[in-house]
Amino acid sequence: MPTARDGNGKAPRNGDIVIDVEGLSKSFDGKQVVRDLALQVRRGQIYGFLGPNGSGKTTTLRMICGLLTPDGGRGTCLGYDILTERDEIKRHVGYMTQRFSLYQDLSILENLEFVARVHGLADPIGAARQAVLRLGLEGRERQLAGTLSGGWKQRLALGACILPKPDLLLLDEPTAGVDPKARREFWGEIHKLAADGMTVLVSTHYMDEAERCHELAYIAYGELLAQGTIPEVIAASQLTTYTVSGPDLNHLAETLLGMPGVDMVAPFGTSLHVAGRDAVALDRTMARIGEGAKLDWRLSSPTLEDVFIDLMSRSQDNFR
């Protein structure tokens, strides 16, 4: 491979950029799933990949790790071309699928040994045993993988992914259907891995998980709508948000929708988030609503969720 690499043979070609793709497009049966997508991920980062269901997250991840051939576009992953050097990519990338894809009828240890052998590790049995210890599954290593609970399945899948010590981890909605405690532990593990220099690209549609990422990208209907750190994304949205609390919020929500300046109304527990891009119009509307009513309303900074829901509704409009 004519690639410039340092001594350990793992450094990507262009310095610190681990994933560098542009113009990625893919359609299935004439339906465009990903369009003209560009993404750059730096080494050691936890990069969140957000978007609603069916937005093209999984397709993008699969294109990056060589499981799908893009219709258009180009790019590199770990310095290897995603179109021509897939075999190399597969050697250095750990890909954790959305659906549990270890062998349910093999034991925990047998699954890990299989992964270790396929990757040609020198001591597959030893490596698998170490992974069992790291996962905290000692004593249960003979248990069939299919009999594990959801949270443990995810941890095992992650353990299998990092067993061959990949440089890049692609996680496709790794915590879907997992309880909060297991999720927190899972994220703790991911941060530890990133601290050790592993790059992680993780797709999710949980906002609290998005906030645990160093940087994120938001994709909807196959298009990248926002990208950057959380403050950057929020600032770029140019959204003005009011938090309103008081009686009869359901009724108020209906009234507010359609009033000038109001782009989005969303209930949050006992309060209402009212957001809009036209700050002047929204201020005027809020001033009028607030008058006389027994409402407590104040200007607040938009949350990530406000931003994404606004992005999504706008993108849907564009799509039609």
């Binding site: 790790c65 060589g66 499981l67 799908l68 051939t69 597969k90 890909y95 659906r99 894809s101």
Partner: protein
């Protein structure tokens, strides 16, 4: 009571209808099941109707003549006229004849001894030897039955012969049913069954192997791992070679103990060629697995392949009795070649020199299937 039943009726009807419509829609989506429904009856009809013939004619026959005489020629002509015997080859020695019969290329051997005509004219009632490959009793049976008429018709027009009466024929036809003289059915069936059972089990085992990965969702991470299609195939096929071996050993042991089926030839040769046959079937099953979308389709495809194997391989019905097109299809099936191999080795004591063409055919079929499978195996999820 009745009113309750009546009141329940419309509900039951609409629920049944709901189920019916759903099943129908699903059936319509599943094209392969649809194809199977059309294909199987049609193919069965065609095969049973046109290809299968339990009283086969035009069976390949070799002639070994130690003298060239008019009487000999008219006897051969009479044999041909029965329409059961096709004289396809003239051989020069007993050894050549044996080789042809062991390899299964001819089913009959006619031997005209030296001095046959002279003995005939002297009224010595000489003997004409007809050896039949009775490893398939059905194929040999009817043709041998037709021999009785041959003696009379052969010499009817030859006036230079002494008193030919119906009571005392001028010459004798000595039949020699080789390889299975007592026409024991199990001697014919057990070796063939070895091939049939191996075909069935090997096909199904590997036909499911790739589709299972797809259905259980393990394919995605398998594809994301650094493993080559050839490595996947070899790794998936090899365990079943061992299983095939165990099956073969079981059948052979039981065949020998219970049905007293001998192994006349070399057990090592049988083992070696069986490995080839097992490999060919595993490769074919595996290639089905790379086409099928799910396990049901894989089973259906295996079944569609299995059917002609049973009917056209010579296992159930005489191969020589089938029309050319059916024989051509038969030649493309591994079972056809294996049945010749296994009957050859077990019953006829055939060696590799008798069977190398069949071995080559098996090797070729295996390589074709493997090449196809490796090229079909998707390295991506596209």
């Amino acid at each position: 009571m009745t009113s309750l039943a009546i009141r329940r009726w419309p509900g039951a009807l609409s629920r049944t209808a709901a189920m019916f419509i759903k099943e129908f829609l699903q059936l319509r989506r599943d094209r392969l099941t649809f194809a199977t429904m059309i294909f199987i009856p049609l193919v069965q009809l065609m095969l049973f109707g046109f290809a299968i013939n339990t009283t086969p004619r035009h069976l390949p026959t070799a002639v070994l003549a130690y003298e060239d005489s008019d009487v000999g020629r008219s006897i051969l002509a009479a044999l041909r006229n029965t329409s059961y015997f096709d004289l396809v080859q003239v051989v020069r020695s007993e050894a050549d004849m044996d080789h042809l019969m062991r390899s299964g290329r001819v089913l009959f051997g006619v031997e005209i001894p030296a001095g046959f005509e002279r003995a005939l004219r002297r009224g010595d009632r000489p003997a004409l030897l007809i050896a039949a490959d009775a490893s398939d009793p059905v194929a040999a049976g009817t043709a041998l039955g037709a021999l009785d008429g041959v003696v009379g018709t052969a010499l009817a027009r030859d006036r230079g012969l002494p008193d030919t009466t119906d009571a005392v024929p001028a010459f004798e036809i000595r039949q020699h049913r080789r390889y299975n003289p007592a026409a024991v059915t199990s001697l014919n069936i057990v070796p063939g069954l070895l091939g049939v059972i191996l075909t069935m089990t090997m096909l199904i085992f590997t036909a499911l192997s790739v589709t299972r990965e797809i259905e259980r969702g393990t394919m995605e991470s398998l594809l994301a791992m650094p493993i080559e299609p050839l490595e996947v195939m070899i790794g998936k096929i090899t365990p079943y070679v061992v299983i095939g071996f165990i099956q073969a050993a079981l059948i052979l042991t039981f065949g020998a103990l219970v049905f007293e089926v001998p192994i006349a030839g070399s057990l090592w040769l049988l083992a070696a060629l069986s490995t080839l046959f097992i490999g060919a079937n595993l490769a074919i099953g595996y290639s089905f697995s790379t086409i099928a979308q799910n396990q049901l389709q894989a089973i259906q495809m295996s079944f569609m392949f299995f059917l002609p194997n049973i009917l056209l391989s010579g296992f159930m019905f005489p191969f020589a009795g089938m029309p050319r097109w059916a024989q051509f299809i038969g030649e493309c099936l591994p079972l056809t070649h294996y049945i010749r191999i296994v009957r050859g080795i077990m019953l006829k004591g055939a060696g590799f020199s008798d069977l190398h063409a069949e071995a080559l055919a098996l090797l070729l079929l295996m390589l074709i299937a493997m090449t196809f499978a490796v090229r079909r195996f998707r390295r991506t999820l596209d």
